[in-house]
């Protein structure tokens, strides 16, 4: 990807003077680094970025980013970001949030931002735990997880972020892993270029309260066989030996081995991230172990009018029709009378 980068930024230009206070070994460090690298590579003046967040470990990120930043209150980042973007559509608004912030207390704002397709980039750090409050279960914690508030294991089914997002009519959904700087950089750039609400779920490890929760597909020994990186136009092939693939049979996704049972590469699905029908993306986003590999990369990216653009368009339409431009004109519109 050739970048013009007329602003000649380096990643360090996006480092603020604040001391980064995440725990050593936290996955958030990797997310920050790849975001700073991404911004340096995008051709956008620094003052146009606004980083908005809610509450939680993830939400400290705006302090470390040398851009405009707004550290909000718990769950409300999507609403604050929405206001900023509507107020000034020239800004590029990034929302930093976590599984508790976005999906528990902020669930309502999350689904409505997506439904409206407001042009913001939501980076959702998913560590399946409440970190800043020191280890309580979250809406994405695996069922049965023992935490301080579930001492006998949770009895709740977790949300799958991809399903929730696509279910809310999400037009862009991608998934990456905190330590995978290359894939993250690629996915963040795609999100940045997308017009509309772009959700990136970052599989993130909390070293203190939920260490290793994603190991089944993120550890060195598991990742090749238990994840599949989807790229638009490419075959859905994965595995250490690149010999496994995904097919659709009897309305169900199935994992097959190339060369077995007469399966050839030709039978493997080709990823179409731009397919408007959400059916296949919903299933890909929902794939989980042990039956399936976990899908990474841009799973869905379909273009639709953004809320902020629709609002501008409506303004122009109304302005073409109405003569009222000033308060004096407004006050004298409609029925008035003279007292002499």
């Amino acid at each position: 990807m050739a970048e013009t980068n007329i602003n000649h930024y380096a990643a360090k230009d996006f480092k603020s003077d604040q001391e980064v206070r995440w725990c050593p070994g936290c996955g958030d460090h990797g997310i920050l680094a790849s975001l700073q690298k991404t911004l340096a590579e995008l051709d956008i003046p620094k003052e146009k970025y606004v980083f908005v967040s809610g509450i939680g470990c993830s939400s400290r990120l705006p302090y470390y980013m040398n851009t405009y930043g707004f550290h909000g209150i718990h769950g409300r980042a999507a609403a604050i970001a929405t206001g900023i973007k509507i107020a000034n559509p020239d800004l590029m608004v990034w929302e930093m949030t976590g599984d508790g912030d976005a999906l528990a207390i902020g669930g309502n704002h999350y689904i409505h931002a997506i439904r409206r397709n407001i042009d913001i980039k939501i980076i959702l750090f998913n560590n399946e735990i409440y970190g800043l409050t020191k280890g309580q279960y979250s809406p994405t914690s695996k069922k049965g997880l023992t935490t301080k508030t579930s001492p006998y294991g949770t009895i709740e089914e977790p949300f799958k972020i991809g399903e929730l997002t696509i279910g809310a009519n999400g037009r862009f959904f991608a998934r990456t892993v905190d330590y995978n700087l290359q894939l993250s950089n690629e996915v963040y750039k795609e999100a940045a270029k997308f017009h509309g609400t772009a959700v990136v779920e970052v599989i993130q490890n909390c070293v203190i309260f939920n260490d290793g929760t994603h190991d089944a597909f993120t550890s060195k020994e598991n990742r090749d066989d238990n994840t599949i990186t989807l790229r638009h136009g490419e075959k859905m092939i994965f595995g250490k030996n690149r010999d496994k693939g995904i097919i659709l049979k009897d309305l169900k996704l199935r994992v097959v081995k190339i060369g077995e049972n007469g399966i050839t590469e030709k039978d493997i699905l080709t990823h179409d991230a731009h397919e408007p029908n959400p059916g296949i993306h919903y299933r890909l986003a929902g794939m989980s172990l042990p039956e399936y590999p976990v899908a990474l990369g841009v799973i869905r990216a379909i273009s639709a009018q953004t809320y902020d653009a629709a609002m501008m368009e409506q303004h122009e339409r109304v302005q073409a029709r109405s003569k009222i431009r000033t308060v004096d004109e407004l006050l004298r519109s409609g029925s008035t009378w003279e007292v002499k």
């Binding site: 550290h71 107020a87 007292v339």
Partner: protein
């Protein structure tokens, strides 16, 4: 028009249109009010309706009323007692019987006074006898029958026919006042332009009602109320919600800012959002948010991004917004929060009026949370205080709460249209890039407001947020810094007092009794006190619009009177606030918590009792 046998000339008349919530009484009342205002009467209106859109038919709980007070003199209240009641059913009689003045005229749809509907309203057999209204001037009009008759040649469905009944009643009232039908006919034409048959039916019935009034003339006196001595100028009718919306819009224009409103529908505040949603022609961006919290949070975001930001709500919504309101306190961003109060607690009385959110506005948040609070006094006053709230918010970089209420929001009055060139200027404290490092919480030495650095401006990148900050904008948990910041945020709000106009006294600056109120009690208190003064009592009135901070001369005003009484529609929130702020005075209280505004009479009665009947000298 025909000769009138008996004409009663009056300075002021109160008319109440009353019927089922589906009878179109709000519209009927509005049309009558506008017609009167166009004629040159001063008016004040009071819509009073149930929370249900179509409450059970024929029940007292389902009665929807619209009261209008028209006058040749200046009118400050919608009136305590009714001179003319239009009752579409027996329930309307039951609901209004105790508010009828002696010798009132009652026009009622006799077709609707069946045994069943009479019993439904809680009467045994004869509403007029049971409520002792026999001596009133009763005009029985078989409106349903007459409407059917008037429209019998038109090809419209029976439901539409009956829906024109309100126009018949309106026509009769117009005859009583010898009013012109033109305004209403124009309205009908505009409203039903696309349905010419419906328009024709409504016009026909309106005229039928008028001529019916003429036909039965011998039975009833008619009224004449001359135009009021009103100041020269261009006028319009305006209600509180509309005035509030236009006030903040005027402030945005004056400040050179574009307006953003993020809100969630809630009675009785929705009109503010609806009004501003119309104004895309003026560049207003409006968002009907997913909830109250998103309403304020989108507004905070828009404020951060450089818009004049507004969110409107009522009591329950203000409760939901309180955490985010503190975010605006902490980030020191301008924001106007409009609370159109209603009866509480909880869902309470959604369509009724109350002044019971005062403490919530002042104190309903965690931590030390200073927020300026101001309150409008009349429907058109909402324009000035909407403007003022926005001006304070921007110039002092703070959220401001503007309190109005259901009574102001729905009430309307003629308003002499101002020119925006006469409005005070608004100075926006923009941050500008200099050689020095930009410090997000560096303050103006006079106002203590920080500077507004708008995203998109090169070189002013900074972070704000709910965590305690240093002057530089870095997160800090240092004990001394927190105490310093808490105190300086408070001091910033207190310093607004320099711009708060002195409290005005209606009447002499000394006397036996000062009647104190705040916000929407203005009309009733000033009318009561004016009447008491005319009757020879040494009484004055002072109605507050600035609650936090209070005007500088507050104590000086109080000191001039032997007794103070605080009248408010709650259990004494403002009285207790004054007890805290100005401790050396004794405050009597007169409170009402019925979801209704005061009546002039009850304020007067209380004052006379407090004075033990003592007059001047």
């Amino acid at each position: 028009m025909g000769k009138r046998s008996k004409v009663i000339e009056k300075d002021a008349v109160v008319i109440r249109f009353s019927g089922d919530s589906g009878d179109g009484m709000q519209l009927t009342g509005t049309l009558f009010s506008n017609t009167s205002a166009l004629f040159g009467h001063d008016i004040s209106t009071f819509p009073d309706y149930p929370a249900e859109i179509r409450a059970p038919q024929g029940t007292v709980g389902g009665v929807s009323g619209f009261q209008v007070h028209i006058g040749h003199k200046l009118i400050n209240t919608p009136g305590d007692f009714t001179d003319i009641l239009v009752a579409m059913n027996p329930a309307a009689i039951r609901a209004n019987a105790r508010w009828l003045r002696k010798g009132s005229t009652i026009i009622y749809d006799s077709d609707n006074f069946t045994e069943k509907s009479i019993q439904r309203a809680g009467y045994k057999a004869d509403p007029f006898a049971e409520d002792k209204l026999d001596s009133m001037n009763l005009i029985a009009a078989p409106i349903s029958t007459l409407v059917k008759e008037a429209l019998k040649d038109m090809e419209i469905d029976p439901k539409t026919v009956l829906r024109t009944k309100n126009m018949f009643a309106l026509g009769m009232v117009y005859w009583l006042f010898d009013s012109k039908l033109k305004y209403t006919e124009d309205f009908i034409e505009e409203k039903f332009g696309k349905k010419p048959l419906v328009a024709e039916a409504n016009s026909k019935v309106l005229r039928a009602g008028y001529y019916y009034g003429e036909t039965i003339e011998a039975l009833t006196p008619s009224y004449r109320v001359d135009p009021a001595p009103i100041r020269k100028g261009t006028y319009r009718n305006i209600n509180g919600n509309q005035a509030t919306a236009w006030g903040v819009l005027a402030a945005a224009e004056k400040a050179g800012l574009k307006l953003f409103i993020g809100s969630y529908p809630i009675t009785p505040a929705t009109g503010v959002l609806e009004e501003l949603a119309l104004r895309k022609d003026m560049g207003v961006k409006s968002l009907q948010a997913e909830d109250e919290i998103a309403g304020i949070c989108t507004s905070i975001g828009a404020s951060f991004a450089g818009r004049m930001a507004v969110t409107s709500t009522s009591g329950p919504g203000l409760a939901l917004k309180s955490e985010a309101l503190n975010l605006a306190v902490m980030t020191e961003l301008p924001l106007v929060v409009i609370d159109v109060q209603r009866g509480g607690p909880s869902t309470g009385l959604p369509t009724k009026t109350e002044q019971s959110d005062l403490w919530q506005a002042l104190y309903g948040r965690n931590g030390e949370s200073p927020v300026p609070v101001i309150a409008a006094g009349t429907p058109s006053d909402c324009f000035w205080f909407g403007f003022e709230a926005a001006k304070i918010a921007v110039e002092h970089m703070t959220p401001v709460i503007l309190l109005t209420d259901s009574y102001l929001a729905n009430g309307s009055e003629p308003w002499r249209i101002p020119s925006t060139k006469d409005l005070p200027p608004i100075t926006v404290p923009y941050a500008v890039k200099t050689d020095k490092e930009f410090l997000a919480y560096e303050r103006d030495p006079v106002t203590l407001a920080r500077k507004w650095a708008i995203p998109g401006t090169p070189g002013l990148e900074h972070r704000v947020g709910g965590l305690e900050k240093t002057v530089k904008g870095s997160v800090s948990y240092t004990p001394e810094n927190h105490e310093y910041m808490v105190k300086i945020r408070d001091e910033k709000v207190e310093r607004i007092v320099k711009e708060v106009p002195d409290l005005k006294v209606l009447g002499k600056k000394t006397g036996d009794l000062l009647v104190i109120g705040w916000g929407s009690s203005y009309g009733h208190i000033t009318t009561a006190v004016t009447e008491l003064q005319q009757e020879g009592y040494a009484v004055s009135a002072a109605v507050f619009n600035y609650i936090r901070p209070l005007p500088k001369n507050t104590a000086k005003v109080f000191a001039g009177f032997d007794k103070l009484v605080v009248c408010e529609l709650n259990t004494g929130q403002f009285a207790n606030y004054l007890r805290m702020k100005h401790q050396k005075y004794t405050y009597n209280q007169y409170n009402k918590i019925q979801g209704l505004p005061f009546t002039v009479k009850e304020i007067k009665d209380y004052c006379v009792k407090l004075l033990k009947g003592k007059k001047n000298g």
